[in-house]
Symmetry: C2
Subunit: 164 residues, 2 copies
DNA sequence: GCTTGACCTGAACCATGGTTTAAGTATGAG
DNA sequence: CTCATACTTAAACCATGGTTCAGGTCAAGC
């Protein structure tokens, strides 16, 4: 169990990979992209501090929610750098995703409802159908809902983390 | 208006692009990928039949719903090849997306609800949190919901179009 | 101190959904 | 018939989220 006795030590990339279920190549990729960091040994090998596991968990969870890495990176930057993040820190940045999810759910529901209408008439005509109208983001200057598709506004760092 | 008087003629790639709001490069790409077809003039230029406009509209609409091109291609293959598709044909294949949308909405709602739980406790711990559990597609052999994330099963051609 | 497995790097590659560019050809108005 | 404009192709490029590979180095058990 030597290689997994990580509770008090640092982890190698292989150990973190095993614990997190994320491939070493992905962990190196996250590091290149600035989502995680590591200390280096004198022999240039990576060593991860314990809280990196939670950081990786947050990354994967956020990806499952459909958040792009660039956005995850921005939100991770809201964590304190001078101390190990607390449970409250994690809870605070997790809030960032809720509005985004709500938004996407509403958008999908609106799309589904419009699709149901369109199925009824078999239209999908360029000129008349709200769903298939190409130019104006779906009805922006016609009657009906102003925006059927919204552009994922994914909570920006400025909005969700500056209170702490 | 000569170049736009398409009501009785075939269209060039530029005309179809203008009418559909889709770039010529994208139309050529769709053709390479087998989503649309064209006749060629003696000089090797593309000429599109009138119903291609509706076909392109269907493609863009489906993309807005989040369907990948490969899936759209499969469903387009369900249209009759021996005649111009009717309104009913279009309505029938449009049905393909509804189950998929419903599924994705439910998945997102489940994710959001779990996130709300997790925000409450600030957990996102690899070992305990349903959302961050990496190995088993979120609780497949533990307690709780069997699948939190489903793999987009996007209605397959076999399921939705063979009745006609 | 040697050997084996884990690690290092950069570069190439994969899929998706296209756009851009370069070099050449067709079409149609005058 | 000419000339502008629109078309043709292949290949390179973009972003996203990585994996794979080649060639070389480190660390630890015996």
């Amino acid at each position: 169990m030597t290689s997994l006795a990580w509770d008090a030590k640092e982890a190698t990339v292989g150990e973190l990979a095993e614990r997190s279920g994320v491939a070493p190549s992905a962990l190196r990729f996250y590091e290149r992209e600035g989502l995680i960091t590591s200390r280096r040994t004198t022999g240039n090998q990576r060593r991860y501090s314990r809280d990196t596991l939670r950081r990786v968990a947050f990354i994967r969870t956020s990806q499952k929610l459909g958040i792009p890495l660039a956005t995850i990176r921005e939100v991770l930057a809201l964590l304190p750098e001078d101390r190990t993040p607390t449970r409250e820190d994690w809870a605070r940045i997790s809030e960032c995703w809720r509005d985004d999810l709500d938004q996407r759910i509403r958008t999908l529901q609106r799309l589904r409802d419009n699709l149901t209408d369109c199925i009824g008439c078999g239209c999908l005509s360029i000129d008349r159908c709200r769903l298939s109208n190409p130019y104006d983001a779906l009805g922006a200057h016609g009657p009906g809902p102003r925006r059927l598709l919204e552009e994922d506004p994914a909570c920006t760092p400025a909005e969700c983390g500056t209170e702490g």
